[in-house]
């Protein structure tokens, strides 16, 4: 389908049909989820050989497995005999995966290791070497984050991430010990198109003060007030909306502490930041070490990965049709954080953005209703708008990207839909533009 008229980034307009149309959804599975690098797993979730983690790439069920040599491979979670799902657990450790249907057994490297009655029923004529699990074309890691990609012609993961690495590193590389995702997966089903939560978190600071007014008013009494300082209309100047990095976005405060200031007991968090600030500056340079590390930041990697240093939640959205998705969330920590601090982060993440999250529970119905209101014969033809602060962006010293001042703007959303349109229009990766606007020509030294 031609999508040239469905999104207009110059005016900030989208046709609502993009949230409900079945044909467009199939095209998204092909041209976005079948083409982009998609987050699979964090290395901390599969530390040992044989550790595996089940996830999705678009609607394709995938198992990611740590190999004997420490490398990571990903396979379609589907038996090569009759197609049955071979793994029904969320994760674990396994020496083999045996299909429930007829008992074919696959080794962690994907090879077909055993077939019941191989000689008797197949007369020894089955070529097991051709019937291993189907491997995800590319799997690559960026500082603990493991991504997979189905498209053989995709750019390297490093190139795909582009200048978003400037922001990724604020989380992934500020401290020498690296990062982890904690706990079990917090899974929620939402009656929403997958683009709406991504759009919401990538740039929509506007909704915080109203959609989350109930949580804001209650939580202030528990001294989580820093949240409203960072994200509500009380401080429109105090941050940046950064986009134009191959479809990836960041929304960031610049104070270096706001991410942790709202914790019920912020003192240990502040102490940690203070004690390790010199390390962060040494590793990331002055701008990021002083202004970004410790700040509340929303990072979006196109199409469906988002994580928020500060609130410390990490999330992917798996599409389940044009009007449905599964939202998967974990708490995230730096491994250098003391155990008590990690436990406090996990607890607070569950309290604020978990399955019964005081804040998270405000978003679902809005996203679902926006989806439903794009399904009617008449509403599907209507437009929706992301035109706030149009034309008010530009470069900013020390930062990559096309930047709009403040956290309340629809600047990032426009770039999200621009990227969506670019992918949906392109027949192949060769036609997808690469851009890192205002790229920092001279990188800050790794070790100042």
């Amino acid at each position: 389908m031609d999508v040239s008229d469905l999104v207009d980034t110059t005016t900030g307009r989208q046709k609502r049909t993009i949230y409900s149309n079945e044909e467009l959804y199939k095209q998204e599975l092909e041209r976005i989820f079948g083409r982009c690098w998609l987050f699979l797993v964090h290395t901390s979730q599969i530390p040992k050989a044989g550790d595996y983690f089940r996830t999705f790439m678009g609607e394709d069920d995938v198992i990611v497995i740590r190999q004997k040599d420490g490398s990571i491979k990903a396979f379609l979670n589907s038996c090569t005999h009759r197609g049955n799902r071979i793994c029904r657990a969320d994760r674990g450790n396994a020496k083999a995966f045996t299909c429930n249907y007829h008992g074919w057994s696959f080794a962690p490297d994907g090879s077909l290791a055993g077939v019941p009655l191989e000689n008797e029923a197949y007369f020894g004529e089955l070529d097991r070497s051709k019937l291993g699990l189907v491997q995800v074309t590319h799997v690559a890691e960026y500082k603990g984050l493991v991504f997979g990609c189905f498209d053989p012609d995709a750019p390297s993961l490093e190139d795909y991430l582009g200048d978003a690495k400037f922001f990724l590193d604020v989380w992934l590389d500020a401290m020498p010990g690296g990062t982890s995702l904690l706990g079990e997966t917090q899974k929620m089903e939402l009656g929403s198109n997958w683009k709406l939560p991504v759009e919401n978190v990538c740039g929509d600071g506007y909704h915080l003060g109203w959609a989350h007014a109930g949580a804001m008013s209650a939580v202030q009494s528990m001294d989580l007030a820093g949240l409203s300082v960072g994200n509500s209309s009380t401080n429109l100047e105090g941050g940046l909306s950064v986009a134009g990095m191959n479809g990836h976005m960041a929304l960031t405060s610049l104070d270096g502490i706001s991410g942790y200031a709202f914790y019920p007991e912020p003192k240990p968090m502040m102490d940690y930041l203070e004690a390790n600030r010199p390390t962060a500056i040494e590793r990331l340079g002055k701008v990021r070490g002083e202004q970004l590390w410790g700040s509340q930041i929303n990072i979006t990697i196109f199409p469906n990965l988002q994580f928020l240093p500060g609130l410390n939640w990490f999330r992917v959205y798996h599409p389940k049709g044009p009007g449905k998705l599964e939202q998967w969330t974990w708490a995230m920590v730096e491994n250098d954080m003391p155990d008590e601090m990690q436990a406090a982060i996990l607890d607070n993440q569950c309290l604020t953005f978990g399955l019964a999250g005081l804040f998270d529970n405000d978003d679902g119905d809005n996203l679902a209703a926006c989806t439903e209101q794009s399904r009617g014969w008449r509403t599907a033809q209507m437009d929706v708008f992301t035109n706030m602060a149009l034309g008010r962006s530009g470069p900013r010293d020390g930062f990559p990207g096309d930047i709009a001042a403040g956290l309340v703007s629809e600047h990032n959303q426009r770039y999200f839909y621009r990227r969506w349109q670019e992918h949906m229009q392109a027949e192949s990766w060769a036609e997808v533009p690469t851009y890192n606007i205002n790229s920092l020509s001279v990188e800050e030294p790794e070790n100042a």
Partner: protein, 175 residues
């Protein structure tokens, strides 16, 4: 499970506690949160842990820092949730949803402390939210109820939610 020769639970206690569970459910259905708080001990713990979904033979260790929770509340955090619901800004609850709790499988056994008992039960929460959207949560509960001067108060509740994927976009209800 009741032992073959359990320390006897008095019939009066059985009736009183079962009635408490039903009463509690009716208070919550009617959003009488302040009255519900009256049934809780001051040191109440209210938990719902995230569950693991592993193969039976799986030997992988539990998560180091913890599995994470849906609820990990004390009385202050329960009040915080009630403050949010009472704020008038929780749009998902306005108009009020049709919420009905069904409590069943009540089983009572002695606890270690003399003035406490363990109460097992099952809760099903039906919610009719927007238009025809009806959702149901099913959970098992293991409670500790304590007998004091005010009668029975809830000292601890462990809730086991029976959904691998939460089938709704919020949990603006208490179990």
């Amino acid at each position: 499970m009741l032992e073959m020769n359990p320390a006897p639970v008095l019939v009066e206690d059985m009736i009183a506690l079962t009635q408490r569970l039903y009463h509690e459910a009716r208070l919550l259905d009617a959003e009488r949160f302040e009255d519900w708080l009256e049934l809780l001990c001051d040191d109440v713990t209210y938990r719902m842990d995230l569950k693991r979904r592993r193969f039976r033979a799986d030997r992988s260790p539990p998560a180091a820092v913890g599995a994470g929770v849906v609820f990990n509340e004390n009385i202050a955090r329960l009040k915080l949730r009630i403050d949010r619901l009472r704020s008038g800004y929780v749009w998902a609850e306005d108009p009020p949803n049709f919420v009905r709790r069904v409590i069943s499988n009540v089983e009572i056994e002695p606890a270690d402390a003399e003035n406490e008992v363990i109460v097992h039960s099952v809760i099903v929460i039906h919610r009719n939210r927007i238009d025809g959207l009806a959702r149901q949560f099913t959970a098992g509960r293991t409670d500790r109820w304590r007998h004091g001067t005010q009668g029975w108060c809830l000292a601890a509740r462990d809730i086991a939610l029976d959904h691998a994927v939460l089938p709704d976009s919020n949990i603006n209800v208490f179990f």
